[in-house]
Symmetry: C2
Subunit: 113 residues, 2 copies
């Protein structure tokens, strides 16, 4: 069920957006708990994500909204969203279709140090 | 075993540091896979983390190095570090002593939306 508009507005007010109006977002596979990627959202991306349950980020390189999987089909369906204690980071539990990474890897964090 | 200096320098060169010379870092509990927090590192914090295996961040509010748990005792021991595909985010698998969050919660992401 999509959240009520008043709930979403209340959330948006609680978030500490950075100087560019963005917040970092960690996407985690809901079932395996694998961390898939770190990306960014602006207010519009967050509202779209919450209302459609399809995760939409803000692409800093393209300066545009980026519905995850819009070209690859590798969408992320929102299961649960959490805001951290100081309001400047989001964690999304998602169901990832296919690979999260543009390289074809399941997760963007495939390079060990 | 601490990584060799040349390995660390190679890693530091591969990272896309932001305009403030920082990179966002996701800490995940190695055993439970719970995402604990998102914080930031500069080059010095990363080098200290890799050489000591005790996670050290850069505090943006205090503008200083912040060895996690230095006052609370709630340290993070590094198990594994991963860099994402485009080199602008780090994922750390850690063994967390006590609570990761300053509120006393295990994770900073305890507020559901």
């Amino acid at each position: 069920m999509a959240p009520k508009d008043t709930d979403v507005e209340s959330l948006v007010q609680r978030i500490k957006w950075n100087e560019q109006g963005l917040i970092p977002v960690v996407a985690q596979e809901a079932t395996t708990r694998e961390v898939l990627m770190l990306a960014w959202m602006n207010e519009e991306a967050l509202k779209l994500t919450l209302s459609t349950r399809q995760v939409t980020y803000w692409s800093r390189s393209r300066n545009s909204l980026w519905r995850k999987g819009e070209t690859s089909g590798h969408t992320q369906q929102l299961v649960e969203a959490k805001l951290d204690c100081d309001g400047d980071a989001l964690l999304l539990l998602v169901n990832q279709t296919g690979a999260a990474c543009h390289t074809g890897e399941k997760t963007c964090f495939f390079r060990g140090i």
